[in-house]
């Protein structure tokens, strides 16, 4: 579904992506892992067209992304920091995003019910707490029915119940045959949901495969130690 070939990107002198080759097939949950500054968000933003690569090619379903913007209609993206125009009310924001995507088939009411957002619908976004903003963010992401979902740190600021609901939501989307890309620092969360992981280290792909493959490669009994052994090996 997503094909990335020889992707390079640097910001000033800081080389963030140094030749990424990655292919992600349709269906399933893929988790992008890596230490801070390893290029996770840059990679995701390159897929979304927010960061323009220095060289290399990204294509989705065989179509190159260059000079195209309509393909984003097929992607639902959850940004890392949920910050919205403070003067808008929650329901106005939802209507606005719907209007921008000109999409009819939405399930926003279902999601508002799921995350118990009804009492906040008429409140201004400036007055919401961080966790509630993240819930609004989730509603905005999941209300469309796109085949590709990209989540950047989806669990940040969520209470345990919402966390659980989010997990169920991700699983039900996967059941529908969607492709889901997730970045997260919470390893237990990744271990639970991910079918396959991609480990980025200093702008290159260090490992791609299932979690059990990672465990056997690093000869560690559990996921956390496997990750830790990669990191200590690289920093040693």
């Amino acid at each position: 579904m997503i094909e990335i070939k020889d992707l390079y990107k640097k910001f000033g002198k800081n080389e963030v992506l140094k030749g990424i080759d990655l292919s992600i097939k349709e269906g399933g949950i893929f988790s992008i892992l890596g230490p801070n500054g390893s290029g996770k968000t840059t990679l995701i933003k390159a897929i979304l067209g927010m960061v323009l690569p220095d060289s290399g090619e990204i294509s989705i379903n065989g179509k190159s992304l260059k000079n195209d913007f309509k393909y984003r209609d097929k992607i639902d993206y959850l940004p890392q920091i949920a910050n919205f125009p403070g003067n808008l009310k929650v329901n106005e924001l939802i209507d606005m995003i719907k209007d921008l995507r000109a999409s009819q088939a939405t399930k926003d009411e279902e999601l508002i019910e799921l995350f118990k957002l009804q009492p906040f619908l008429n409140k201004k976004l400036a007055n919401l707490s961080g966790g509630t903003k993240q819930k609004v963010n989730l509603v905005l992401t999941f209300m469309f029915d796109s085949p590709l979902i990209i989540l950047d740190e989806p669990t940040s600021g969520l209470d345990p119940i919402s966390h659980l609901r989010l997990k169920n939501l991700i699983f039900s989307e996967k059941e529908k045959g969607k492709t889901i890309l997730v970045t997260s620092h919470i390893l237990s969360f990744v271990e639970e949901i991910a079918d396959e992981i991609v480990f980025l280290l200093e702008g290159k792909i260090y490992f791609k495969g299932t979690i059990s493959e990672l465990k056997s490669k690093t000869e560690q009994p559990d996921f956390e130690h496997a990750i830790a052994s990669i990191l200590s090996a690289s920093y040693a």
């Binding site: 960061v51 323009l52 393909y71």
Partner: protein
């Protein structure tokens, strides 16, 4: 683009600052008119305020709006919307709402005073038109500065410097060069120098319309001869449009190549 413009505009129409700006002009208009009781004088005072204040507000608002809506812009960038539409939409949203505050805020007291039955209607319209141009020009310049500077403090700094240069320093340099080269014919130079700064251009346009160019002495006569003709007037407006179009083009170009 129209959708983005609409939402930016709504967002700003609800912001406290739009009302402060609007009320300021309303108050200014009322005070000038009803305490002064002389339309022409009121227009001149207004001109002095507008020429300095409109660019300042346009610059500050433009930079502030851009930096404040950064995260929201990122949300928009992930939607199936063209990049240029997002930034041009935001720019026109800010510039339009500022222009509305200016025109309605000043317009209301003048309408109640009876501007429509007065001969000053044309001077007043010219004042509002140049005010609108200045808003669009300086908001666009502010967007260019904000787009090219990731660092807010730097962005604000450059924006304020730009305003200071256009509104104050440029005049100083202009005057100094006039003094320094006074032995040479300077009519053409001063005409060109005026055309190149939108603030000066607006000021001269209004002053000449108000028929007080006699106060400007010999230069005034030269200016009157040039700007008084329809050719001069059209050329001035072309210059003002040019000052809107060029920064807008840069907004489009920078936005196309920028990483977020």
């Amino acid at each position: 683009m129209l959708k983005i413009l609409k939402y930016s505009f709504y967002d700003l129409m609800r912001s406290r600052w739009s009302y402060v700006y609007f009320l300021f002009y309303l108050l200014l208009g009322i005070v000038l008119l009803f305490l002064n009781n002389d339309l022409s004088k009121a227009v001149i005072t207004l001109m002095n305020v507008i020429i300095i204040l409109v660019p300042l507000i346009g610059t500050i608002f433009g930079v502030m709006y851009y930096y404040n809506s950064r995260e929201f812009t990122e949300l928009l960038l992930a939607q199936p919307v063209k990049r240029s539409s997002i930034f041009l939409g935001q720019y026109f949203g800010v510039a339009t709402s500022l222009t509305m505050s200016l025109i309605i805020g000043l317009g209301m007291p003048f309408v109640f005073y009876g501007i429509f039955n007065s001969s000053a209607i044309w001077d007043f319209s010219l004042l509002l038109i140049t005010g609108a141009f200045l808003t669009f020009i300086f908001t666009a310049l502010a967007f260019v500065i904000a787009l090219s500077n990731e660092n807010r403090i730097k962005g604000f700094g450059y924006a304020i410097l730009l305003w200071l240069f256009m509104a104050v320093i440029y005049d100083g340099l202009f005057l100094m060069s006039l003094l320094y080269f006074e032995d040479y014919p300077l009519d053409k130079f001063s005409l060109v120098a005026t055309m190149l700064n939108p603030v000066d251009l607006s000021r001269v346009l209004i002053l000449l319309k108000l028929d007080i160019s006699a106060l400007l002495g010999y230069t005034g006569a030269v200016f009157q001869k040039f700007f008084g003709t329809s050719f001069g007037l059209i050329l001035s407006f072309v210059m003002l449009v040019f000052w809107v179009v060029v920064p807008t083009f840069f907004i489009w170009r920078i936005a196309k190549r920028k990483d977020f």
